[in-house]
């Protein structure tokens, strides 16, 4: 199949399997996109991990631990897909810790208080599930298939996050303040999360139908679904320009695209510390891998 016919095939809703022939550009775009997703799942547990020992109740500690296990499980599933496309997991991990490959902007920031834990699980996971649900229609079928399980598990995380936030909003003034402060901290990164509003027709990931929607479409969906839920709790969204226009489109202040670029290229407030953590553990656990592989051989 030549590249033009392949393009028409995926653009008309056709799906591709691992053993099918595919253009090199499609394969490399897939690897780049899916690998970044896998990296994000793996790095995304670190901000929450910091709170396992400080969780306010045993129930919360268990729920947070389970969420961390889910996300690491997702990264395993996703790296498997990347591996079948030709890039081994060891190489993905090596590129991650050397800073060669990227992970999502929201995982480069600190988790200051328990309020952040609630806002991350509720709103960061909500933003993520919007992107992931759109991937259920990805032209690469093995990726689309695992997304079903991932979306199913993410839905628990949103519940967990919402429960944390609601509990705090029903608590003392101090607890309510922690949620508001966390929302203030996370709003900027959340608005940057779905990427700059380039037209989907100019987005190579959309052209190949790796993504099935444009960046702005995803952000509008997020605002439409969650701003009313934020407002009804008496929380304030830290953007004076935020409003829904008469034609149903959300207006907002321009997100800080320079910050997004700066953060995902390795300059976020927690980027280096978290990569160092991954480096340390890969090194520390090398003996486990060598023992296990030697025994299996």
């Amino acid at each position: 199949m030549d590249e033009q016919r392949f393009l028409e095939y995926v653009q008309s809703g056709g799906q591709v399997e691992t053993t099918d022939r595919m253009p090199d550009d499609y394969r490399s775009k897939l690897v780049k996109f899916i690998e970044m997703h896998g990296n994000s799942e793996l790095m995304g547990v670190l901000p929450e991990r910091e709170w396992i020992l400080r969780a306010p109740t045993l129930q919360r500690k268990l729920a947070l631990t389970a969420k961390v296990q889910d996300e690491v499980g997702h990264s395993q599933l996703i790296y498997r897909v990347v591996e079948d496309l030709g890039k081994p997991r060891e190489q993905c991990l090596a590129d991650l810790i050397s800073g060669k490959s990227k992970f999502h902007n929201v995982f480069h920031y600190p988790t200051k208080t328990w309020g952040d834990v609630g806002v991350i699980a509720w709103l960061v996971d909500a933003a993520a599930i919007i992107s992931q649900k759109a991937l259920l229609k990805c032209s690469y079928a093995p990726y689309a298939r695992i997304m079903k399980k991932i979306c199913w598990e993410e839905s628990f995380h949103i519940l967990h996050g919402r429960d944390v936030v609601l509990t705090m909003m029903n608590g003392t003034d101090e607890q309510r303040e922690l949620v508001q402060e966390a929302l203030n901290r996370w709003w900027g990164p959340l608005m940057q999360f779905h990427g700059n509003p380039i037209s989907k027709e100019d987005d190579p990931m959309y052209i190949w139908r790796i993504k099935s929607q444009g960046n702005e479409e995803a952000r509008q969906q997020f605002l439409d679904g969650y701003v009313p839920q934020i407002w009804e709790l008496g929380l304030t969204v830290p953007d004076p320009k935020l409003r829904k226009s008469d034609d149903g489109v959300w207006e907002y202040s321009e997100p800080d695209w320079d910050e997004l670029k700066h953060v995902v290229t390795g300059h976020g407030p927690k980027t280096q510390e978290r990569l160092e953590f991954r480096r340390k553990f890969l090194e520390q656990e090398a003996w486990v891998r060598s023992v296990v592989l030697a025994e299996a051989a």
Partner: protein
């Protein structure tokens, strides 16, 4: 090694492909599959199969249009209309039979 995992959602259901796990041997593969595909009790049972043991068969052609072994080989609508016409007024419709028969 790569192991493909098939899961049965409930008793009596067919096993369907769920995904794959990478493991150094079968024992690890079982443990990983158990965690990855069953820790929320979402599976009744799993089949964990080395990828090498799976043989894909495809290319199903139908040059001779053998429609006689498929439902689309039996378009009855037109024939039924003709048969009903020939039967004319002598046959009662199903509706009339059930309404009159009580």
């Amino acid at each position: 090694m790569i192991f493909e995992v098939f899961r049965q959602e409930k008793k009596g259901a067919a096993f369907a492909h769920a995904g794959s796990v990478e493991a150094p041997d079968a024992t690890f593969a079982h443990a990983y599959a158990h965690e990855q595909y069953g820790r929320r009790q979402e599976s009744e049972a799993l089949w964990v199969v080395p990828r090498d043991a799976i043989h894909e068969v495809h290319d199903f052609h139908d040059e001779l249009h053998q429609t006689y072994h498929r439902v689309d080989g039996y378009p009855l609508k037109e024939k039924l209309r003709l048969a009903r016409e020939r039967a004319g007024g002598t046959a009662k419709s199903v509706d009339a039979l059930s309404a009159g028969g009580g």
